[in-house]
Symmetry: C2
Subunit: 173 residues, 2 copies
């Protein structure tokens, strides 16, 4: 039975600290912004607030510099590692949510005017192409990337390609 107060954000933090070793909120921010943040984003302020919560819950240990920036570095406690492992061991059945404003607008397209949907599609194609390019850059730049993380990236690549194809058809109609 997992501690109920833990949100997905909590596990992202635990997972990052576990994966990359002791790190600061800023380290997490950077890691997130080039990886899992593409799928599940949150503002950097949470990467400052959430670790503190986890410290209170005994899942992270905090070590604050005495001098200079007084950075806080976090690392997993045994309890934290256990919580993370337990979470990883338990498959989910919660379904995917594809949160995309463009899709929302498309859904209500019948109420739009003139070329709205067409322009929407064009913008979406652009956005997905950019995103695809970013993913490709990461894929060939970060060669040494951990295997599961690369697999996740692979999902992203496929999604972007599929999205481009989809919106191109919408634009063509």
């Amino acid at each position: 039975m997992a501690t109920p107060t833990l949100t997905p954000t909590s596990y992202v933090v635990l997972g990052l600290v576990g994966a990359f070793g002791p790190c600061t909120s800023y380290d997490m921010k950077r890691a997130v912004s080039s990886s899992i943040g593409y799928f599940w984003s949150f503002p950097h302020s949470q990467l400052y607030a959430e670790p503190m919560r986890l410290v209170e819950l005994g899942l992270l240990r905090e070590d604050q510099e005495r001098t200079g920036r007084r950075r806080r570095t976090y690392e997993l406690t045994d309890a934290g590692r256990d919580a993370l492992r337990a979470w990883l061991a338990e498959p989910t059945d919660e379904p995917t949510e594809i949160r995309d404003l463009a899709v929302l607008k498309l859904f209500f397209g019948a109420q739009a005017t003139g070329g709205d949907v067409r322009r929407l599609a064009d913008a979406a194609i652009e956005a997905h192409r950019r995103r695809l390019a970013e993913y490709e850059a990461i894929a060939d730049h970060d060669q040494g990337i951990e295997r599961h993380m690369r697999t996740t990236l692979e999902l992203g690549l496929r999604y972007e390609r599929a999205a481009i194809a989809f919106w191109e058809e919408v634009a063509k109609e």
Copy 2:
């Protein structure tokens, strides 16, 4: 310049009322749960709270029954229709978020134990198959479905098929 206090949820409500005509929160709930709620979900309580907010903003008009259940029926005001149209007319560049706990767990798969990832993949395959079946049922049951809504559903179908293929490869590794 769109009113800043409006969230995606607001537009979903406006869009639903616009698309289906005057309706109650419960009507919205039903509509959501078989359509856009698959992509962007929220609890029914919001479908009660949000319309009231929109009434205060002058975007919806409320008509409450005097007797019995005292149901509140909402419909668009002119301002509401304008706000919706303006929103639809403005393409987004906010990128998709694919929120999926299974993907999150996969991402941190290096820290998992034994057959965790395999079980995760199997569960995901199951979940996506179920979801695909639901989409297919909607697609051939609701024939008269509006064109843009059907297109959105088409995206869902593609995503689920791609997800199944993806997780099958993960399981195979």
